[in-house]
């Protein structure tokens, strides 16, 4: 290890000295001087960093979501082949919580107390991760980039100083969807199909800021109750000709099946979480023998994006992720969920680089607050990280599903929670760094 690290030694310490924001310094990157590395905190050794995560690998929420950690894993593997972060390889452990909060508490306990991870990264789900929020913050374990768009992770850094959101929150998403409908479908009678928890509530709050008077019905389903017949029938009875769904992918499939049964054919708009055409298509696939054709059910539906997707093979980030998946991934194809996992791992590496040669848990949090707002990468919109906000990316684009692909109908819009306005994003797509590995400078002494 020392030999490899010495051969690729980069002038990390020198780079600490001065520079402006992100972009192209010659800092952390591919190597580091392992000889100056110390076991600076729990989960950090001279040549490794241990990270933990919880995901639903089995159960109702597993389709799609179980692929996220495989994407992250592939990214870390390729990163480790290039020398890791400052000469330390990433040791990534993810455990199954089956989307059950009781299990989440148990596996996170295990990760923190037995595996002794440096940080929890990308833990998935609002109900699940809520169960460990207090524990992680009271233990002082960095709780980075939760895989959920709830406001819980970022709106109150004073209460939860160690937790950071990552993706665009549901309220901001609702606002952007609401404004799009107000501008483009001013006469539509809008029905809402909502998961009966924070996810649906935040989305509804955002969307109502813009089109409260257009909404004719708001129907809620409880995850686990797979009979959504009454809810879809109620939307139909209310005369909604435009339905916005804040629901998970399996309920996208269920709502489509039920609508088919009822002969109900509104314009559908699924929020990002529930809209993956490949996954929904594969869920509906078997029914083709019962005269339902697969993904075409979603044809014409609208959705939102905060990351590039597999159906953009010309996007340089997608090309790079494809290379990483081919070289370091496991079985199966590159999917949007794996891209999500890789993009999240990319941000994690940015944070670790910014935390310096010998990162500490508190230093990591400080680094994200100082530098995170300037990081660029595969995400379409900038992060909102600062001392006052731990919210993730600030915006989304809107696209339409056509067959197996999507086409953009509105470029990236930025907003924030509370009364913030919506503005078009004027930045450009970030360039892909060499080997897909970011190159942030340390912002910690």
């Amino acid at each position: 290890m020392t030999v490899i690290a010495a051969a690729t030694a980069a002038s990390t310490l020198a780079a600490c000295g001065g520079s402006d924001d992100g972009g192209g310094g010659d800092g952390g990157g591919g190597g580091g001087d392992a000889s100056a590395n110390e076991a600076s905190d729990i989960g950090i050794t001279e040549d490794s960093i241990k990270l933990g995560a919880h995901f639903p690998l089995t159960g109702v929420a597993a389709p799609g979501y179980s692929e996220i950690p495989t994407g992250s894993q592939a990214y870390y593997e390729c990163l480790n082949n290039e020398g890791g972060v400052n000469g330390r390889t990433i040791d990534y452990i993810y455990r199954d919580d089956a989307y059950n909060p009781t299990n989440t508490s148990q596996v996170v306990n295990q990760l923190v107390l037995e595996d002794e991870v440096f940080a929890i990264v990308g833990g998935l789900g609002t109900p699940t991760h809520s169960a460990v929020l207090d524990f992680l913050n009271s233990e002082g374990v960095p709780d980075l980039f939760v895989s959920s768009g709830s406001l819980l992770w970022g709106e109150d850094p004073e209460t939860n100083p160690y937790t950071f959101g990552w993706q665009t929150d549901y309220e901001s998403e609702g606002k952007i969807i609401g404004q799009y409908i107000a501008d483009n479908f001013p006469d539509a009678k809008v029905g809402l199909f909502l998961q009966d928890d924070d996810f649906g509530e935040d989305g509804e709050a955002g969307i109502r800021e813009y089109i409260d008077d257009q909404i004719v019905a708001a129907e809620r389903y409880t995850p686990g109750n797979t009979n959504v017949g009454p809810q879809i029938a109620a939307l139909q009875a209310a005369g909604a000709d435009f339905v916005v769904g804040f629901n998970v992918p399996s309920y996208t499939a269920l709502s489509q099946l039920t609508a088919l049964q009822l002969g109900y054919d509104p314009q559908w708009f699924y929020s990002n979480v529930g809209s993956d055409p490949t996954l929904v298509g594969s869920l509906l696939n078997n029914f083709s023998q019962g005269q339902v054709s697969d993904a075409s059910l979603l044809d014409g539906a609208l959705t939102t994006d905060y990351l590039p997707t597999v159906d953009e093979p010309d996007n340089p980030w997608v090309q790079e992720f494809q290379r990483i998946w081919d070289e370091c991934g496991g079985e199966g194809e590159l999917t949007n969920y794996r891209i999500y996992g890789m993009a999240q791992a990319y941000t994690t590496v940015q944070a670790l680089q910014a935390a310096g040669q010998n990162p500490t848990r508190d230093g990591l949090v400080e680094a994200i607050e100082i530098a995170g707002g300037d990081w660029e990468g595969p995400v379409l919109a900038p992060f909102r990280y600062s001392e006052d906000s731990h919210m993730g990316t600030a915006g989304m684009s809107i696209s339409r599903v056509t067959g197996d692909t999507t086409e953009e109908v509105e470029p990236v819009q930025l907003t924030d929670i509370g009364g913030a306005e919506i503005e078009p994003f004027d930045g450009e797509m970030a360039e892909v760094p060499e080997n897909g590995i970011p190159n942030e400078e340390s912002v910690i002494d």
Binding site: N225, T226, V228, P230, N286, F287, Q289, Q291
Partner: protein
């Protein structure tokens, strides 16, 4: 009005599915006096066998027949290997064993077939029938479900009421000693009861899965509703199981459709319905007599 019709039809179809499951519970109760908690995962196991066949290119009907046959075998094996050794001990032992079996079979399914979410095909269409200008929430597939459940119920009634073997099964369940003295081969009857119940359970599993998503635990919520339906009907009567299932299906659909945030209240409503019925008629709606114990 159309909304009311659709909520009602949704409830009827769901209710039939609960009925199918309740029928299997009633059958095993009638023939062995054991409440079988493993019924759900046994049905899930045979459903996954059917799905594997369909994915390998076989027709739905071939898969259905194979699933029913494997249900028959599975039921017989479970009775002979797992239940027989604990029979004759305290009644609770066998029940607890079925609980353990429930978990074990579910785990075995996940090992053999994986725990992915998959859609299960239907032999008939999923688009509702056209009535006038509207489509209603009754599909060719729901007609198939309803027909299959009613035919099964009729067969069970015939079996228990009009055949010697049905009589022998009931006798074995009620009083093993007496039945044995009268020349009934009690051991065989118990095995047969389990096997038949598992066949009906397999059918229920397939009917429930059609047009829905399956994964190893997909029967979990239905186990609860199936039990409620069976107890509503008196746990002893095939017709009671059907009526119990329909009442439950309709009531839950109205709760989900007409109560604010009804979807979340469905499980609570099921308990309330059960409580009310048991307070009014402790033996269930169709209890034929006060409980006779062997």
């Amino acid at each position: 009005m159309q909304y009311f019709v659709n909520v009602t039809l949704t409830g009827l179809t769901e209710g039939m599915v609960y009925s199918a499951f309740a029928l299997a519970l009633v059958l095993i109760w009638r023939s062995t006096r054991i409440v079988n908690f493993a019924q759900g995962s046994m049905a899930a196991a045979t459903t996954f066998i059917a799905l594997a066949l369909i994915q390998a290119g076989q027709s739905y009907w071939v898969a259905l027949v194979v699933a029913l046959l494997s249900g028959l075998v599975l039921g017989a094996i479970v009775e002979r290997v797992v239940i027989r050794p604990v029979e004759g001990g305290p009644e609770l032992n066998a029940v607890i064993v079925t609980l353990g079996l429930f978990v074990a079979i579910q785990a075995a399914i996940a090992i053999v077939f994986g725990s992915a979410f998959q859609s299960f095909p239907t032999p008939f269409g999923l688009e509702g029938f056209q009535v006038g200008d509207d489509r209603i929430a009754l599909t060719p597939n729901s007609v198939w479900v309803i027909a299959a459940v009613l035919v099964t119920m009729a067969l069970l009634v015939v079996l228990f009421r009009f055949t010697r073997i049905g009589l022998a099964m009931r006798a074995s369940a009620f009083g093993q000693e007496v039945a044995r003295l009268l020349g009934v081969r009690v051991g065989r009857m118990l095995t047969l009861g389990w096997a038949l119940a598992a066949v009906v359970g397999s059918l229920a599993g397939l009917l429930i899965a059609g047009g829905e998503f399956v994964y190893p635990a997909y029967m979990d919520s239905l186990i609860v509703f199936g039990f409620v339906a069976a107890v509503l009907g008196g746990l002893d009567s095939p017709i009671g199981a059907i009526v119990g299932g329909l009442i439950l299906g309709l009531a839950l659909s109205y709760v989900s459709g007409y109560v604010e945030r009804g979807s979340a209240l469905v499980n609570v409503a099921a308990l309330v319905i059960l409580m009310v019925v048991l307070l009014v008629r402790p033996g269930g709606l169709f209890a034929s007599s006060t409980a006779r114990r062997a």
